[in-house]
Symmetry: C2
Subunit: 443 residues, 2 copies
């Protein structure tokens, strides 16, 4: 499934003109999936595919009678409010639908120009979560993040001895995952500094971002079965952007011995568009361990993983304060990094998660963990960028930020580009901070 | 909702004769809920209520035309394959159904003897999970367990400074929660002992039980809203038995810094019957902190919680080895304790979980954590009973157990009894260990 095929040809152009613009996230070579409906309508959510600045409505496509066979079956599954049924179908179905979409949307003899009537402008759409997420697991695949944050929480012991052997992960909260664009209230919780005896209860004062990728599970495995490396990517539907908002002061006080809880379960933001593994094929890169590091154990190793298990996905975080918004100043970049720096691959996450028999189900979500790169300007969380809050970031309008303030808006972006391939993008994952909602009762 | 009413009268008798037997778990004063169907049938699962050795079929009851108003609406919700809709309705609906069931099943002028045709013998039933569980959170509410296990994992630092302030919890895996009776394979994973450089990959050698209670969430809260202590119990549908099977060798190697992962996500067993908060009302006891311990912070405190926030639920673990089974020897008791020893109450779990705005949804599950009591014979996991595997348990047939062996069967039981109240029980939560399933590929 990692081989390039005609759907990747960078010379292909779509009859949807906006898809051919330089810098467009959604050219013909991308074709990511979302769940959408028209803004402010009572329409049912259904699957859609991005093409340029439009969405091809999968419910309308499935009803149009213009597809056949495996592609039609996949479009019908994608017509449902959430994409779980499409995710469950597996790579052959996904690939058949992708080929039919690519052929129908490209200029040339097979162009389905009648699909023009099945398009909805992205400007007029609102998005739901791509799937009903049964379980959400967050990994910790950046050794740079693990080292940076470990040094702040445990100065004497930054990178724990298991890190280079175990793809560390933990179970996250599925109910509080929200679609891009949904604002959330600053969380309240307990914090304790060494100078006080009694913990303080109140709004978090150290609200942070975590720039991550979200990985949607495809068919999955039965309880008690494991997924070997050779099959792991067959269980991955695609990748989106994920912001694992984190309250660092709550986290520091609560996280031992069982891990983060209230520090992360108040909100997690997901981008609407899920970019398929097939669309990402041109951007695979070798997975390499630094010299001297242990090689992955056999159940986490494969020739394919070594040759092409990593992805060069460029990632950026942009921040806009309330003052910037009031002055019509757009979001300012604060981080840029790449997914290629991850210490563990997508396939390794799947193989490790299932080696003990844990069942993954269609629509389950895996988080990559904070994707900090090797240098501090590539750090993907404020706690690292500001070195634990000691060195505030300077913003273009003269403001500074150590932690997020009420009214701040954060946008994650992702894209892939290289010579000889069409640039593809992930769109945006946006979230903004509302003031804490103080309960009327005593805290 | 904590006041006793006519449904608790210990003198009431049912026209279902088996409900009146001494020692029966399911007298008229209990009326717990499960999801069931006839064994080996293709029937739809639906809700049922235990009475003696029978199940009152809620789908048949809802169709019988013998209930009206709120009780009929609740029975209709309970007729679905899982109980989420009934859980979502809240205490007034639950209470109306309980009263109607109690009146119809008791001897006397309101007896609905026609319901005889709506009964299914428990011996002929199989059970599903009571709810579609969206999210599962496991707490850590026994200070004795936290201290015992902390001493083994961190001899210099057994009880962490946050324990007496924060109801510690973490997110668990929902997909691998299985109904009582379902066997599971011994998990495979990485373990590392100090004497080796490279971790071993293979079947867990330190498979353990954790005796817990499972708490099913009722209506729940919207994202961003918190549930105050005064309302917390209105969001609790009921309580069942939960075995949080744990692979201690995997746990020791993987758990830092983000908590248990593969050590616990291979299987979690739930008892079929959910005992309602109303049925438990006679067994409330004061919630008291040991002298010198900090009092709960205001958001975790209420007069009701102090007066009656804890429950005196007796708990036991019984073990049967393959050799015992072959010799027709029944399960042997290895632990007995009570939920009254918990350091945090059900209401405190709900209030803490939501204080930062995390949304609980109907059918979500909270685990109490391992319910070890103050003395070592009340320890609710093998790791404590055997003091880290150093002191094997002697079984009645001359076998010993340090950790669970393939073929072992473990049963959890729970019951409440006191003078002046009818004894009620939780039934059984059973699980058994199959050999590890070694993958064909390299590990």
């Amino acid at each position: 499934m990692s081989l390039l095929n005609s759907t990747h040809d960078p010379l292909l152009r779509s009859w949807v003109a906006s898809a051919n613009s330089a810098g467009c996230d959604f050219p013909l070579q991308n074709l990511p999936f979302a769940s959408f409906r028209r803004q402010g309508s009572n329409e049912a959510f259904r699957g859609g595919v991005a093409i340029g600045d439009q969405i091809l409505d999968l419910a309308a496509l499935a009803a149009s009678g213009t597809l056949t066979g495996a592609a039609q079956a996949a479009a019908q599954a994608g017509a449902q409010p959430r994409l779980n049924a499409l995710m469950a179908m597996g790579p052959a179905a996904w690939s058949a639908l992708r080929l039919a979409l690519s052929e129908g949307l490209r200029e040339g003899p097979a162009a389905q120009r009648g699909w023009q009537t099945l398009l909805v402008a992205q400007d007029l759409a609102e998005y739901g979560l791509p799937a009903q997420i049964g379980d959400y697991t967050d990994f910790y695949t950046s050794v740079y993040h693990a080292t940076n944050i470990g040094a702040l929480f445990r100065p004497d012991n930054p990178l724990l001895p298991n890190y280079k052997w175990v793809p560390i992960g933990y179970h996250g909260r599925a109910s509080s995952i929200v679609p891009s664009g949904q604002a959330f209230h600053r969380p309240i919780g307990q914090t304790k500094t060494p100078d006080v005896e009694v913990p303080r209860v109140g709004p978090s004062q150290r609200l942070d971002i975590e720039l991550e990728l979200g990985i949607f599970v495809g068919p999955g495995n039965a309880l008690g079965e494991s997924v070997p490396m050779a099959e792991a990517e067959d269980h991955v539907f695609g990748i989106c952007l994920l912001n694992d908002w984190s309250a660092r002061d709550l986290q520091a006080w609560e996280y031992q011995p069982l891990g983060p809880f209230l520090a992360k379960n108040f909100a997690t933001s997901l981008s609407p568009w899920v970019v398929t593994m097939e669309a990402l094929a041109p951007f695979r890169v070798p997975f390499q361990r630094p010299a001297g590091d242990p090689q992955p154990q056999p159940y986490l190793d494969s020739e394919h993983n070594r040759a092409a298990g990593a992805f060069d996905i460029q990632l950026a975080v942009d921040l806009q304060t309330a003052a910037m918004r009031d002055a019509s100043q757009s979001h300012a970049p604060i981080v840029q990094t790449s997914y290629r720096h991850a210490y563990w691959t997508v396939a390794q996450m799947v193989a490790h998660h299932t080696v003990g028999g844990c069942n993954l189900q269609p629509g389950d979500l895996l988080g990559s963990g904070t994707l900090s790169g090797p240098t501090l300007d590539q750090a993907a969380a404020l706690i690292e960028l500001t070195r634990g809050g000691q060195h505030p970031l300077a913003l273009p309008n003269g403001e500074t930020r150590t932690w997020l303030q009420d009214g701040d808006s954060v946008v994650l972006r992702g894209w892939c580009e290289k010579a000889g391939a069409a640039r593809i993008g992930f769109g945006r994952c946006e979230g903004s901070i509302l003031p804490a909602k103080i309960p009327s009762q005593a805290m």
